[in-house]
Amino acid sequence: MARYLFRRILFLPLVLLVLLTASFFLMRAAPGDPFANERGRDPEIQKNLKAKYHLDKPLWVQYGIFLKNLLQGDLGLSTKYKDRTVNEIVAGHLPPSVLLGVIALLLALVVGVATGTVAAVRQNTVFDYSTMAVAMVGISAPTFVVGPLLVLVFAYYLHWFPITGWGSWHELILPAVTLALPFTARISRLMRTGMLEIIRQEFIKTARAKGLTETRIVLRHAIRGALLPVISYLGPATAEIMTGSLVVEKIFQVPGIGYEFVNSALNRDYSLVLGLVAVFGTLLVFMNLLVDIVYGLLDPRIRYE
């Protein structure tokens, strides 16, 4: 286990390097430059600006500077937000994103696991069918449709929440629910199948024969095994939550890093894009690692080489 983990951690920088290198050269190959705007441009001023951001140097030198600064934890200067460094921007916008993501993931886990378990235990009942039907809708309805509709109903017509905004708990609910919906649906489905498989196995029958109550059987014995597919789904789910947050942060005007990403790519704000990619990449890679560890702990059959 330790050796496996060690190897996985060794891989981390490699993954990030591949990602950042690809992003770096893709961004630089894009037409247009960060300082272009509709007003007249003085070539002299442009030259000065480029020098300030090291954009006048050959590409490989820029790449070198970028890597060197990155190793020192310096993500550089944003060409758009002139008052803040990329580090400051990321530090400012990361907490809302993480908060939103974690709450959505927890919400999805709690609701998904609960409904999935009940649906499995009460297989072929009305509850089972309705849960699975709702789950299928959850999977098929895109976040960007659900979000605006929730805003319209709960914020505009019912006045339960503000239309957009950030800062207090009740401004967190709509975005978190929107973001969590597809994951809740998927986890619920996974949980149901996992649970159905487990409760048909011999050891459950034994437990039942011992006279344990159904609740006890499910909570004590079945849930652990049934959680495995859910746990292994958490890795890809993190990636999907990140991409989902691009949409949710846009709809609800959440001051997170996802919101900034598309705009900064369109603005050719090189440092900011790369900084955000680095953050997203690191988060994802660590989450995958975490998922692997949890999986190993839950499933004694897994032996890492």
């Binding site: 894009a30 037409p31 272009a36 001023i45 937000y81 002139k82 008052d83 239309i163 369109l266």
Partner: protein, 553 residues
């Protein structure tokens, strides 16, 4: 229902604050004092002022910076007006330069020199006095080539400024700025510039507190944070939560603080026009500065909707060296085949059809009307150019930057060209940065463009079309035109000047390197609770004149 303007009682505020009004010994022999004596703006009736003087509005974008010298956008400019004040400050309605940091100014007989008297009670928010030296150093900062201010050209009207900024002169003393005393600041222009005073309230010409900037630089931190930012405007930066809001509090050290009514301003950075409008309808905002195009009917039905003409022109620009638009007849045909009033009717926002390039609303300038909509004549011209009924017309492309509103206009106009000229024009949209690169590289045939005036004077719309001008992306060059613009820049006679501009505009509109489509408008929602807000063609609404009011029913 709208009581916004009716509740004024016209009390003229004659605050002859400071010394300018009394002691005139600083005015040189023969110079004329041209400054108004104070803010000629009606005061609200005390009894109607709301208790809670807090304005919440949507600024439309996260501000890129609070450094006025690095600003380039409208949202930043709006905020700069809250926290900084230039030598002058704009009248909320007429946009005339009112006394700001300078309580009076005098102009030399040849109109080349301006002497500003900085008011004695002008203070920075940390208590330091604002002196002439602050302006000298601030403007020097803008002009330093290393500082690379994108809007440095706003100072090019000052003698020697352009040379210094372009590194042709290393010596800053050649720039026409002189500090005569802590309260006297002399500016020498390279030519009589009637709109120079209007420029002095532009953000690039606002002063910054260089000592605190220098201190922050030494510490390696940003000087624009709420804790560090030292400013001289009616408000101070109280809180900045990126992408959430910017909060301003009244600046008690502002020289005219007793004339400032708002205690707090909250600027939101919502860039989703739909969300902003819904927030307004939900009474979460007092002022929204945009209306989403698909909801224009809904907006115009709302009592709080406002629309004001804007100093800007939406136009299509031709690359006149590329076939087939190197032929004036073709350009003319394309212009005459556009039914501009139809376009505006479709936009529904009160946009005005544009046949001239300079928008209306500029005092004492009449403007020239170009060719009108005449599909028959357009087709004849196209036939003369060798394309009867569009037959044999080469494939052409209309370039615009990706945006629903540009697409809408392009679709309508392309349809008109197809119907009236029999010409199929392909539409191409590109992302903003790619589009800019293509336009700057003159890598297009027809392109959507827009221009917003920097000041209310024809010059801001016309001097850009001189041969090789930085914004002239049409390859159109006319020495006659250059000559007219140069003469207009030199003359001191306002009547001759306007006449030269009219000739220039006539030449431009008849030569058609550009086809004006419509003049911009500003639309939005303003709560009747906001008082002191005036319509003007530059959409400038200085916060020191705004207040929250209670409605008398």
């Amino acid at each position: 229902m709208i009581v916004r303007r009716s509740i004024f009682i016209c009390v003229v505020c004659c605050l002859l604050a400071g010394v300018g009004g009394a002691d005139m010994s600083w005015v040189p022999e023969g110079w004329k004092i041209e400054s108004p004596s104070g803010w000629d703006v009606p005061l609200p009736e005390q009894s109607l002022l709301a208790k809670d003087q807090k304005l919440v509005f949507n600024n439309g974008a996260e501000p890129e910076t609070f450094d006025p010298h690095q600003m380039t956008g409208v949202p930043e400019h709006t905020l700069a007006m809250a926290i900084y004040e230039g030598l002058t400050t704009p009248h909320p309605k007429t946009l005339e330069a009112l006394p700001g940091m300078a309580d009076a100014w005098a102009v030399s007989p040849d109109r080349l020199k301006y002497l500003f008297h900085i008011r004695k009670d002008a203070r920075w928010s940390n208590g330091d006095p604002v002196v002439a030296q602050d302006f000298y150093r601030s403007w020097k900062r803008v002009l330093e080539p290393e500082f690379a201010a994108q809007y440095a050209y706003q100072l090019y009207y000052i003698q020697g400024a352009e040379a210094f900024n372009r590194r042709t002169s290393k010596d800053f003393s050649t720039v026409g700025l002189r500090v005569l005393s802590p309260h006297l600041f002399e500016v020498t222009l390279r030519a009589p510039t009637p709109f120079f005073l209007e420029l002095t309230y532009f953000e690039t010409l606002m002063p910054v507190h260089l000592d605190s900037i220098e201190k922050a630089r030494k510490e390696g931190v940003a000087w624009t944070t709420p804790e560090r930012l030292v400013c001289n405007g009616p408000f101070v930066l109280a809180e900045h939560l990126p992408r959430q809001h910017v909060t301003f509090k009244k600046n008690t050290r502002y020289w005219n603080a007793k004339r400032v009514f708002l205690e707090e301003i909250v600027a939101l950075p919502i860039d989703d026009q739909n969300a902003a409008m819904n927030k307004y309808l939900n009474e979460e905002l007092d002022w929204v500065r945009s209306v989403p195009a698909p909801r224009i009917e809904e907006a115009t039905d709302h009592p709080d909707y406002y629309v004001q003409t804007y100093l800007g022109t939406y136009y299509y620009s031709f690359n006149v060296t590329r076939k087939p638009f190197d032929d004036l007849r073709v350009r003319r045909a394309f212009s005459m085949a556009i039914d501009r009033s139809s376009v505006c009717r479709f936009l529904k926002g009160g946009q005005m059809p544009a046949r001239g390039f300079v928008p209306p609303g500029i005092p004492v300038y009449s403007g020239y009307q170009g060719p009108a909509f005449d599909p028959g004549a357009a087709r004849k011209l196209l036939a003369e150019a060798g394309f009867p009924g569009g037959e044999g017309f080469p494939e052409v492309e209309l370039l615009y930057n990706t945006s629903e509103s540009h697409k809408v206009v392009a679709e309508v106009i392309v349809d008109m060209w197809k119907k009236h000229l029999g010409v199929r024009v392909k539409m191409r949209n590109n992302e903003w940065k790619v589009y800019l690169k293509q336009v700057e590289g003159k890598d297009y045939q027809v392109a959507r463009r827009g221009w917003i005036g920097d000041y209310a004077d024809p010059n801001t719309f016309l001097d850009m079309w001189v041969s090789g001008g930085g914004n002239n992306n049409t390859n159109w060059a006319s020495s006659a035109y250059d000559n007219l613009i140069r003469r207009a820049g030199m003359t001191g006679d306002p009547k001759v000047r306007m006449d030269l501009f009219l000739q220039a505009e006539t030449l431009l509109v008849e030569s058609l390197p550009v086809v004006p489509i419509y003049h911009y408008v500003n639309q939005g929602f303003l709560s009747p609770l906001v008082g002191g807000w005036e319509e003007n063609i530059r959409d400038l609404h200085p916060f020191q004149f705004l207040y929250m009011q209670i409605l008398d029913d």
